[in-house]
C-alpha cells in the first residue's frame, strides 16, 4: 500500500531548506576580466587566472560585491563590515585550481528573511522564510562526458572540458530550515524561488534564467512524523530547472520519503537528481560521510570591507520589493487579479508602468500592451517590448484620449510604427490617418446625413436623443471612420437644436 501525497502529508511533517545559486550578470568574471557571455565557443572566454595557470592570482570583481550587497539588502540581511573568501579544496577536472574560491564562515550578508504569500484552502497565507546567508563564490567549468550510457562520468569514453563558465560570479542564497509549511511545502518553495527571481530581476543583477542555469535551486527536504518534534534525515535535490520543477520535485520527494519511512526504511542523506520527464528523483552522491573540504581563508585575497556609507547609498538605490509593487500597482490601476496575473506572466508590468508614467491612461496602457501589441509580437514571435517604445505607445494613447485618433486608426498607427515607418506622428502624416475634426468638413457629411434621413432628424428635434445613433453611423460611414464619433454626436445634436 503506497501513500499518495495527501496521505503522506497527513502522517508526516516536511521541513524545507533551499539553496539558490544565482549567476550574476556582471560583464566580467569573479576574479579576472574575462567575458561572461552565455553560449560562446568552448574555452574562448578564459585567461591565466580562470584557467588556474601556475602563478596567476585572483582579484575580486567590485561589481560582483555591489550586486551581492544589493541582494543582501533586498533580502533584509545585515551586511558584514568584514568578510573573507576561503578555499574549498577538492579535486575535479572542471575546477581549474582544484579548489573553489568561495565565502565560507565569514559571508558578506547574514540573517535576512523573505515573506512569501501562497494561496491555501483558507485563503492567502504568508510564510516567513529566514535567510541564513548570502555569499559570493565562483562557478566551475563544464564537463561534457562523451560515450557511455547516461552522460555521466562513469562509463564515459572521454570527457570534454569547457572553462568559459569557470570563474563566473555566483551568489549563493541559503535559507534556514523552513518548518511549519505542512502540505504546502512545495508551494512555499515555489513561491519563494519565484519571489526571489522577481527580486533579482528587479535588482538587475542576474538574467535569472533557470533553463540556462543562471538561477539554480537545490531543494532540501526531510520528513518527521507529525507532532514528533524531531528533524528527519534530509535529501538534497539538484537539477531543478524551472519553477514548476521546484514544486514537482518536492512533491515527489516528499512522497518517496514518506513511503520509505512508512515501510520502515531509513532515509539516506544524499544528493538526488530531478528527472524532468518523470517528475521523480534518482540518487546521486551520498553525503553520509561528510566530505572534508579543508576550508581555510584565501591568502591571495584581502578581506572584503565595504564602507558603511556605500552600503547606505546602495540601500537608497534599492528598487521597491516586487511583491509590494505588484500590489500597489494593481490597486492604483484598479486591475482585476486575473488581468494582473496576465500582465506579470507576459512580463509587461514594467512597460505598462512606464507608459503610464509617460502620461497614458492606465486602462488604455494595459489594453494596448496586452492586446494589439502582444498580438503583433505573437505573430512575429518576438517580445512585445522589442516592437515599439513606451514613449510611442504613450504618444498614441494620448492621441486617442484627445480624440485625434480612434481605436481603429490607432491600430494602423501601431502597425506602421512596428513596420518601421517611423514615429507615430510620421505614420499619421504619411498614411493620412488624422481624425477628421475640422468642423466645416464634418458639417458637409452631417448635413448630407440629415438630408438623407429627415424622419430621424425630426425625432431628434422632438427630444428623442438616442435616435442620433443612426445619423452618427451614417456620418462615420461617409468619412471612412476617420471622424471622431463623440465630436460627430456633439455637432449633430447642436445642429438639431439639442446641444
Amino acid at each position: 500500500m503506497t501513500l499518495d501525497y495527501k496521505s503522506a502529508t497527513e502522517k508526516f511533517e516536511p521541513t524545507l531548506g533551499l539553496e539558490v545559486h544565482v549567476e550574476l550578470n556582471t560583464n566580467s568574471k569573479m576574479f579576472c576580466s574575462c567575458a561572461t557571455e552565455f553560449g560562446a565557443s568552448p574555452n574562448t572566454q578564459t585567461c591565466p587566472v580562470c584557467l588556474g595557470l601556475p602563478g596567476a592570482l585572483p582579484v575580486v570583481n567590485g561589481k560582483a560585491i555591489e550586486s551581492t550587497i544589493l541582494i543582501g539588502l533586498a533580502l533584509n540581511c545585515s551586511i558584514a563590515p568584514y568578510s573573507r573568501f576561503a578555499r574549498k579544496n577538492y579535486f575535479y577536472p572542471d575546477m581549474p585550481k582544484n579548489f573553489q574560491t568561495s565565502q565560507y564562515d565569514e559571508p558578506i550578508c547574514v540573517d535576512g528573511y523573505l515573506d512569501v504569500e501562497i494561496e491555501t484552502e483558507d485563503g492567502p497565507k504568508t510564510f516567513r522564510v529566514d535567510i541564513e546567508r548570502v555569499h559570493m563564490e565562483e562557478d566551475t567549468g563544464k564537463s561534457l562526458h562523451v560515450g557511455g550510457a547516461t552522460g555521466r562520468i562513469h562509463g564515459a569514453e572521454y570527457s570534454l572540458l569547457d572553462y568559459n563558465r569557470a570563474g563566473i560570479p555566483l551568489v549563493e542564497i541559503v535559507t534556514r530550515i523552513i518548518p511549519g509549511t505542512g502540505k504546502y511545502a512545495p508551494q512555499v518553495a515555489r513561491a519563494y524561488v519565484t519571489q526571489l527571481r522577481d527580486i533579482l530581476r528587479a535588482l538587475g543583477v542576474s538574467d535569472v534564467k533557470m533553463e540556462q542555469g543562471s538561477l539554480r535551486c537545490d531543494a532540501n527536504v526531510s520528513l518527521a512524523p507529525i507532532g514528533s518534534g524531531i528533524l528527519g534525515t534530509r535529501s538534497e535535490t539538484k537539477n531543478v530547472n524551472s519553477l514548476r520543477s521546484v514544486e514537482r520535485a518536492l512533491t515527489g520527494e516528499i512522497e518517496r520519503q514518506a513511503n520509505r519511512l512508512e515501510a520502515g526504511e531509513r532515509i539516506i542523506q544524499e544528493t538526488r537528481h530531478f528527472l524532468e520527464e518523470s517528475g521523480l528523483t534518482r540518487p546521486g552522491r551520498s553525503k553520509e560521510q561528510a566530505e572534508d573540504y579543508r576550508y581555510f581563508p584565501e591568502p591571495d585575497l584581502v578581506p572584503v570591507t565595504p564602507d558603511a556609507k556605500w552600503i547606505e547609498e546602495l540601500r537608497a538605490k534599492l528598487p521597491e520589493n516586487p511583491a509590494d509593487r505588484r500590489k500597489r500597482l494593481q490597486k492604483e490601476w484598479n486591475v482585476p487579479d486575473a488581468e494582473m496575473t496576465s500582465l506579470i506572466n507576459a512580463e509587461l508590468m514594467d512597460v505598462v508602468e512606464e507608459t503610464i508614467k509617460l502620461g497614458a491612461e492606465p486602462t488604455r496602457a494595459r489594453t494596448w500592451w496586452l492586446g494589439e501589441i502582444s498580438r503583433l509580437a505573437n505573430e512575429k514571435e518576438v517580445a512585445p517590448t522589442s516592437l515599439i517604445t513606451t514613449a510611442f505607445v504613450a504618444e498614441i494613447i494620448a492621441l486617442i484620449s484627445s480624440g485625434d485618433l480612434t481605436d481603429k486608426l490607432a491600430r494602423q498607427v501601431v502597425e506602421g510604427v512596428v513596420s518601421g515607418e517611423g514615429s507615430p506622428a510620421e505614420v499619421i502624416e504619411k498614411r493620412g490617418l488624422k481624425v477628421v475634426s475640422d468642423d466645416s468638413a464634418l458639417m458637409v457629411a452631417i448635413e448630407a446625413a440629415i438630408a438623407a434621413q429627415p424622419d430621424t432628424a425630426e425625432r431628434i428635434r422632438g427630444g428623442n436623443i438616442p435616435a442620433v445613433g443612426a445619423l452618427i453611423g451614417a456620418v462615420m460611414k461617409a468619412t471612412g471612420g476617420q471622424a471622431d464619433a463623440a465630436k460627430v454626436r456633439e455637432l449633430l445634436l447642436r445642429h438639431l437644436g439639442q446641444g
Binding site: P48, L51, G52, L53, P54, G55, A56, L57, P58, V59, V60, R87, N89, F91, P93, P96, K97, N98, F99, I153, S159, L161, A290, D292, R294, Y295, F296, P299, D300, L301, V302
Partner: protein
C-alpha cells in the same frame, strides 16, 4: 674597464656612456655561463637568442639618442631569473618534473617590469622544487654548487640565482623568499639578497608555494646594485590583491646615503649566541662594532615568541602549499602520466602527481593536508596563525625601541651537499633566523660581512625593518658595506676561487 666582474651600477654607467654595448655585455655573460655553469649548474634554461635580441633592442634604443633619458638605469644590464616566475614562451618548471616542458602563455609582473626596463634576461635559474628547501638539492633537475666550494650548497631555495650572481654568470638575479629563500642563499654565497616587505613586489605570475609568505626580491653583489633592481621590480600591481598601494620606498637613495648616525640598531637576543657557528657570531659582533663606530646606537631587544615561529611556519606554509599545488593535475598543462585510454581522470591525476612531485613536496602536501583537515584545523593551522600574530607583536614591540633589527642570517656557513638531505628537520633549522620576518610580512636584507675563520666561507648579517620601511636596511647595509670594504680593501667575492678555465 667594464667586464663581468664589474658591479651592475658600473655596467649601467658604462652602457649609458656607450663605452660598451648591451650585446657585448650580454655575450660576455653568456660566455661565462657556457664556461662555468657545468660546474655550478645555476641555470635550468639559458635563453641565448632571447637575451641577445633583448640586448640588441636596448642598444638600438640607446643609439637613437633621444631615448636615452627615458631608459631605465639598468637598461642593458643582464639578469638571471628564478625558474618560479612565469616568462612568456620560456620553459618554466619551478624545479619540478610536473611542469617539465610547460611554456607559460604570459609574463609575470616582475618579468614584464624587467623587460620594460630593458634588463636583459639571460635565463631561468635552478631552485628547490616549488621553492621547498634550503639547499637547492630538492630540484628535480640536479643540485646547484656553491661557487666558493663546489662540494657545498649555495643554499636555497633560490640557490641557482645566488650562485649565478656569486659566480659572475649574472650581475643581478631575481629570487623568491618564503622562509628565507633569498636571504639564506645570499648569506651562503657572499652576496646581497633582499626580501622586500610582503606586498612590496607583485606576486602575479610567481608560482605559489605559500601565498601569505612568498615574496619576490633582488640579488646583487653590492647594496646599491640590489637597490637599483629593487626599484625596478617593486610597486603596486592591480593584478595582485595583496600588493600594497603605496609609493616604493626610496631604496636607491638610502643605499647611497652612507650614514647611520643616531640610528638605533636592535640586536635580537633570541637570535644570537648559542646555536650559531663561532665564525658567524664573530663576524656579526665585528659588524656591530663597525656600526657603533659609524655612529649608530646598539640596543638589545627580546622577541620571546620567535621560538615558536619555525614550528608555526611548517604548518602554515605546507597548508597553503597543499592547496596551491592541487592545480598540478595533468588536465591542462605539464606532465601527464598513465593516460593510456583505459584510466579515469582521477587515476591519471593520481599517477601524474605520484610521478611528478619530489619527496619533499609530497611531504609538505601531506603535512598541509593533515593540518587543514576537519578536527585538526584549530589545533594546527589555527594555532599557527596565533603564533604568527605573536611574532608580529614581537617585531612591533622591538621596533618601538630600534629603527632596524639585526641578527645572523643562518646558524652556519654553507654546509656540504648531502649533509642534511636526509634530515628534514636539520634542514628546516637553517631558516630559523629568517622565518620570523616572513611570518610578520616585514622586509629583510642579507649582507655579506666577512668569512668565518674556521672554514673561510661567507657569513651573512640580517638587517630587518618595519613594514614598507625597506629603505632603512638599505641605509644600514650600504653604510656597513662601505666600512667593511675599506677595512678589507677589496670585495668579499675576490676571495672566492676562480671557476674559469685558465687561458
Amino acid at each position: 674597464m667594464t667586464n663581468i666582474y664589474s658591479t651592475a651600477a658600473e655596467m649601467a654607467s658604462a652602457l649609458s656612456k656607450k663605452e660598451i654595448t648591451s650585446v657585448e655585455l650580454t655575450k660576455a655573460h653568456l660566455d661565462r655561463i657556457a664556461e662555468v655553469d657545468g660546474k655550478l649548474h645555476s641555470f635550468l634554461h639559458v635563453d641565448n637568442e632571447g637575451a641577445l635580441a633583448q640586448a640588441a633592442e636596448v642598444d638600438a634604443k640607446r643609439a637613437m639618442g633621444k631615448m636615452s633619458e627615458t631608459l631605465s638605469p639598468l637598461a642593458g644590464v643582464p639578469i638571471a631569473v628564478k625558474d618560479i616566475l612565469a616568462q612568456k614562451g620560456i620553459p618554466t618548471t619551478a624545479g619540478s618534473k610536473i611542469l617539465e616542458g610547460w611554456r607559460p602563455p604570459y609574463d609575470s609582473t616582475v618579468v614584464a617590469k624587467l623587460k620594460a626596463a630593458g634588463v636583459v634576461i639571460l635565463g631561468k635559474t635552478n631552485m628547490d622544487e616549488f621553492a621547498m628547501g634550503s639547499s637547492t638539492e630538492n630540484s628535480a633537475y640536479g643540485t646547484t654548487q656553491n661557487p666558493w666550494d663546489l662540494t657545498r650548497t649555495p643554499g636555497g631555495s633560490s640557490g641557482g640565482s645566488a650562485a649565478a650572481v656569486a659566480g659572475f654568470e649574472a650581475p643581478l638575479a631575481i629570487g623568491t623568499d618564503t622562509g628565507g629563500s633569498i636571504r639564506q642563499p645570499a648569506a651562503l654565497t657572499g652576496i646581497v639578497g633582499v626580501k622586500p616587505t610582503y606586498g612590496g613586489v607583485s606576486r602575479y605570475g610567481v608560482i605559489a608555494y605559500s601565498s601569505s609568505l612568498d615574496q619576490v626580491g633582488p640579488f646583487g653583489r653590492t647594496v646599491l646594485d640590489t637597490a637599483l633592481l629593487h626599484e625596478v621590480i617593486a610597486g603596486h600591481d592591480e593584478r595582485d590583491s595583496t600588493s600594497i598601494n603605496a609609493p616604493i620606498p626610496q631604496v636607491v637613495a638610502a643605499a647611497k646615503r652612507l650614514d647611520v648616525k643616531g640610528m638605533k640598531i636592535g640586536v635580537i637576543k633570541e637570535l644570537s649566541g648559542s646555536g650559531f657557528q663561532a665564525g658567524v657570531s664573530a663576524r656579526i659582533n665585528e659588524s656591530i662594532e663597525l656600526l657603533v663606530a659609524a655612529g649608530a646606537e646598539i640596543v638589545e631587544v627580546s622577541c620571546p615568541n620567535f621560538e615558536y615561529a619555525l614550528a608555526a611556519y611548517y604548518l602554515i606554509a605546507p597548508s597553503e602549499a597543499s592547496s596551491n599545488l592541487a592545480r598540478f593535475d595533468s588536465m591542462r598543462y605539464g606532465l601527464r602520466v598513465g593516460d593510456d585510454g583505459t584510466k579515469g581522470a582521477e587515476e591519471v591525476m593520481s599517477a601524474t602527481r605520484e610521478a611528478g612531485f619530489g619527496k619533499e613536496v609530497k611531504r609538505r602536501i601531506i603535512l598541509g593536508t593533515y593540518a587543514l583537515s576537519s578536527g585538526y584545523y584549530d589545533a594546527y593551522y589555527g594555532s599557527a596563525q596565533k603564533v604568527r600574530t605573536l611574532v608580529k607583536r614581537d617585531f612591533e614591540n622591538a621596533f618601538t625601541k630600534a629603527d632596524v633589527l639585526i641578527s645572523p642570517v643562518t646558524p652556519t656557513t654553507a654546509f656540504k651537499l648531502g649533509e642534511k638531505s636526509n634530515d628534514p628537520v636539520a634542514m628546516y633549522l637553517s631558516d630559523i633566523a629568517t622565518i620570523p620576518v616572513n611570518m610578520a610580512g616585514i622586509g629583510g636584507m642579507s649582507l655579506p660581512v666577512g668569512l668565518a675563520e674556521e672554514d673561510g666561507l661567507p657569513v651573512g648579517l640580517q638587517i630587518m625593518a618595519p613594514l614598507m620601511q625597506d629603505d632603512r636596511f638599505y641605509r644600514v647595509g650600504g653604510t656597513l658595506e662601505a666600512a667593511l670594504l675599506s677595512k678589507w680593501g677589496k670585495p668579499i667575492l675576490s676571495n672566492a676561487p676562480d671557476l674559469a678555465v685558465k687561458k
